[in-house]
Assembly symmetry: none
Homo-oligomer: 252 residues x 2
DNA sequence: CTAAATTTGATCAAAAATAATCAAATATGA
DNA sequence: TCATATTTGATTATTTTTGATCAAATTTAG
């Protein structure tokens, strides 16, 4: 039985029972407690259940479901990218978090950081992180865009320009060695540009499906980016092309 | 049974009973009093209940009631006030909406307005109104306060000062003819003051339980207010005193 | 106000659970 | 096929949790 099979069984068993111990699961699935523990660790990292001492309980999110990110394409790869990216965030950091589903995936892996300051225009990010005890959030003000569930516009850019962060985690709609960073919305492009010019280190989170494709607004070059964080499916030739241009690529 | 499970049981038991002693909980959950005390300490640190000598009681204003916050005391009166206040909002208006449970109650009655512009620092307000087709929202930026689920601070005040609205709908923690408007948080007081100085017409929403009582920060006089919107239980003498001072009172 | 009773928080040792490590088993791929 | 990588289960050291004890703090009663 593979991990993926077990994962589904574990999640549904825990959801049904409310909570189960490692030993109950171990018996139910005929697996050793060590394996169950590993599984539970992985699953709770994804937020599908809550790890407890001795077992796990189901996650009941009575809250905030209206703002939690919509799940779309390339779910697993985005999840992996989020986890990778989160590893670059340390306690005490001040970071910009863009709106966008891949950046949103980072959040769940940031919840136990301490003294972390997050500056964001994304409501899903806020909803995910606002109750984390070690994180304080600075919300960017301006016009609220209901499509993107984020704040945009002139006022938002002004707001960002008044801050400086050590690291910025951003997303794009297209990325290629030739055209650089592209977006399909002027609003998003201006916000992302503002993040870039006010942070020391820029991390671009971009799953392989967007790489090699261009959207219609060009708003930045590869030179702006310090690290590209992407997934295991990135084409090797493209990867080589990026590296040749001096871009550091982190591949899941 | 893990702490996480107990925590849920304790919180719901205390919320149901209103208050419980350490020993009642100890017996109910078959745990030693020492463990219950530790749990209560942790839980009250999160603000999910209030620690008392000998036990714990439920928190009146549940901190984490999600963004769609259902509020606590005087529910019906607040609901009525909200409806009354909403009647003063017309299509095409630009309005400030404060954070606070009474102002939040207005929102439900605003959803079908057209060309309405709402400027707010309250996440519950945003959550309630963001999908209304006729309403555009300007979110005030700044430090996010997880307790109040709203944005506060210096930056937020600057933001507000860049806008002007026809009407402001605000709340207070205490109101009396003698001391005027009072609040129990500096943060809230400065935000409310900013709304007041940048709007033409100020509507104060305040249920009768807060009238005649003073909180500890005085931040405004009755003269600032154009209309007080309150409930049917307002004492007639106090009502008369307000009117004598030139305050227009709308009573439910 | 003082004294008795109760409650608490701190400390400690035992028990339980975990993470880390390693070797065997299994799967993967050239 | 063989070599390599991944997954699993056992072992062990570490961490977490728990209940008991006791001095200090708080409440209650006189």
């Amino acid at each position: 039985m593979s991990f993926q099979e077990r994962k589904k069984k574990i999640v549904s068993a825990v959801n049904e029972a409310g909570s189960l111990s490692v030993f109950q699961l171990s018996e139910k699935l005929s697996m050793s407690p060590a394996t169950i523990r590993r599984d539970l660790g992985d699953i709770s990292d994804e937020g599908l259940l809550i790890r407890t001492h001795g077992g796990a309980m189901k996650v009941d999110d009575p809250v905030l479901t209206s703002f939690t990110g919509k799940s779309g394409s390339n779910e697993n790869n985005k999840e992996a990218i989020g986890k990778l990216a989160a590893a670059f965030v340390q306690d005490g950091d001040i970071i910009f978090l863009d709106c966008g589903s891949t950046v949103f995936k980072m959040c769940r892996h940031l919840k136990n950081r301490n003294r972390l300051k997050v500056i964001t225009n994304s409501l899903p990010v806020l909803a995910e992180l606002f109750d984390a005890p070690g994180i304080s959030i600075n919300l960017i003000g301006g016009e609220f865009d209901k499509q993107r569930q984020a704040v945009h516009g002139e006022r938002a850019v002004q707001h960002i320009d008044q801050y400086h962060a050590q690291k910025a985690f951003i997303g794009v709609d297209g990325l290629s060695a030739e055209k650089g960073l592209t977006a399909h919305s002027e609003l998003e492009a201006t916000i992302t540009s503002a993040f870039v010019r006010n942070a020391n280190e820029i991390f671009l989170l971009c799953d392989s499906s967007k790489i090699g494709k261009d959207s219609y607004i060009r708003f930045g070059s590869l030179a702006m980016i310090h690290k590209l964080i992407t997934d295991k499916d990135l084409d090797n030739q493209i990867n080589a092309a990026f590296r040749e241009k001096g871009l550091e690529v982190v591949k899941g």
